[in-house]
């Protein structure tokens, strides 16, 4: 019999994969890190500006103003839309929340490659921090919409509670797609170069400053189907429905956007997790 080697059992491989359950538990344990990372990134991104943090919502507000002038007034998409100001703000802000989650989640690995190379923590913390950051900038945006809704004569209604699922679904849908893209984006910069154009085209088709459900009501076939179930449009209409009783989404649209968001979010999380861990040499 050879001598016992008590140390052998105590040593474990440093390259073992973390099981999903452990990974999710670890991510929860690191939630304070995600929160601080989100806050620090917001602060860091605006230190070169005099107006600092104010830009976090000046940015979408100015976008809304530009769209108001260019599309609402000049191209006249304002016509026939009740309370166009609130309609437009809801559209711009919901798009900003959804596409912001998408873009930043897709970049979360590529942009944090230095942290990932030097420190060991569950990488799902990074998209979690993105979602928190989006939520933090969403609050002042919603304050703006609520103020403009109240000043333009809308009443406080139970419908405002729709904002809660609208917020959650926008973040889940956006980060789900972003998580699916993250590993590809970390391997090739082509994704980051290609994404802005795709998103811009998608945004113009989604009706940030017009109502696609009204405008393309008589379009049938796959194109009509796209305009009807395009999750970006449905999410915008959901937010608008909180304030405007002329806008609302059907049960089918509700179900479609919930199913799509949940499926993409779960698939994105699983994909992201399955590629977690040490990089191959």
């Amino acid at each position: 019999m050879t001598a016992l080697m008590p140390t052998e059992a105590a040593l474990t491989s440093v390259h073992d994969r973390t099981p999903l359950w452990r990974s999710l538990k670890d991510t929860w344990r690191y939630r304070h890190f995600a929160e601080q990372l989100a806050l620090s990134r917001i602060m860091a991104s605006r230190t070169d500006n005099k107006l600092g943090l104010l830009w976090e919502f000046l940015n979408p507000l100015m976008t809304a103003l530009v769209y108001y002038l260019a599309f609402g007034l000049v191209l006249g998409t304002r016509k026939g839309v009740e309370n166009f100001e609130v309609f437009l703000l809801c559209g711009v802000f919901t798009w900003a929340l959804m596409s912001g989650s998408l873009v930043e989640c897709s970049e979360s690995l590529a942009r944090n490659s230095r942290i990932i190379l030097t420190m060991r923590f569950p990488t799902l913390v990074l998209p979690l921090s993105v979602a928190l950051r989006q939520l933090l900038t969403w609050i002042p945006m919603m304050a703006v919409v609520i103020i403009s809704a109240l000043t333009s004569g809308e009443q406080l209604r139970v419908n405002w509670l729709v904002l809660i699922p609208a917020t959650l679904l926008s973040i889940m849908f956006g980060s789900g797609v972003g998580l699916l893209l993250a590993h590809l984006a970390a391997r090739t910069r082509d994704v980051a170069s290609f994404l802005p154009f795709t998103l811009r085209a998608w945004m113009f088709l989604s009706g940030v400053f017009y109502d696609p459900m009204v405008r393309f009501k008589h379009v049938h076939g796959p194109v009509g189907w796209f305009f009807h179930y395009n999750p970006a449009s449905v999410l915008m209409e959901m937010t608008r429905g909180a304030f405007l009783h002329t806008v609302g989404i059907t049960h089918r649209q509700w179900i479609s956007v919930i199913v799509l968001s949940v499926v993409l979010f779960v698939a994105g999380t699983l994909t992201f997790w399955s590629k977690e861990g040490p990089h191959d040499a």
Binding site: L11, T12, Q36, S40, L117, T118, M119, D280, A281
Partner: protein, 270 residues
Amino acid sequence: MTHDLPEAMIKQPETHRDATIDVRDIVATYKVRTQRGASGVANLRARTVGSINEVHALRGVSFTAYQGESIAIVGRNGAGKSTLLRIMSGLQRPTAGEVLAVEHPTLLGVDAALIPQISGARNITLGCLALGMTPAEVEEIRPSIIEMSGIKEFIHNPLNTYSSGMKARLRFAISTARTPRLLMVDEALSTGDEVFRGRSEERIRSVLDGAGTVLIVSHSMVAVQDLCTRGIWLHEGRVHMDGPIMEVSEKYRSWALAEDRRQRGLDKNQ
């Protein structure tokens, strides 16, 4: 390049102590895109995206480290030191071989997860949370980090206003705030003044006292000679020599000097 190398020497350390990290036959091969040697229309793809070239960073490295050992890993640029360190700390997967350890090693790198535009105080919070501490633990440990890094009066200034020495001190203080059992240091001792060097040596000793192991990667033998007990000399991705620090450092230094002289001689002849 390999001629003039002193004879390889591998001494097995005593085995009655407990192992903390066991490195088994690590191979690391990188695929690198090159941009050379492509011309003409037929090679358009090769010209735009490059062709793939294999780089052998590590060609089978094995050693075992024990409790209370401090090991200097030395070697020239490109010998595979940093790759080995990243693989040992579990941040990178080797092409072949495995690394077994008592716990996940703490890597103290030159590139830590600090954000330049925010204050030192916030970076302490961020760094400690990234190491897996709870917010309560961070507050408990904060005074000792500030004390250790010696940046008391600048603590609320943004990090990008710090000198490189101050940054290095802060990084070191954060990474070693909680005494790890396996600490890996990448050239960190080259920055910082004498006072700080004294303090960091204290920290390294406290790791050793707590039955831990310290691995230091360095170009400079002088910085690590006093601190380390064992030296591992990497050469072209292999362990060329493994033994007591004084023997390894002496052989390495005279070889490096001779290499330098030879290199200069070649330059002059050209």
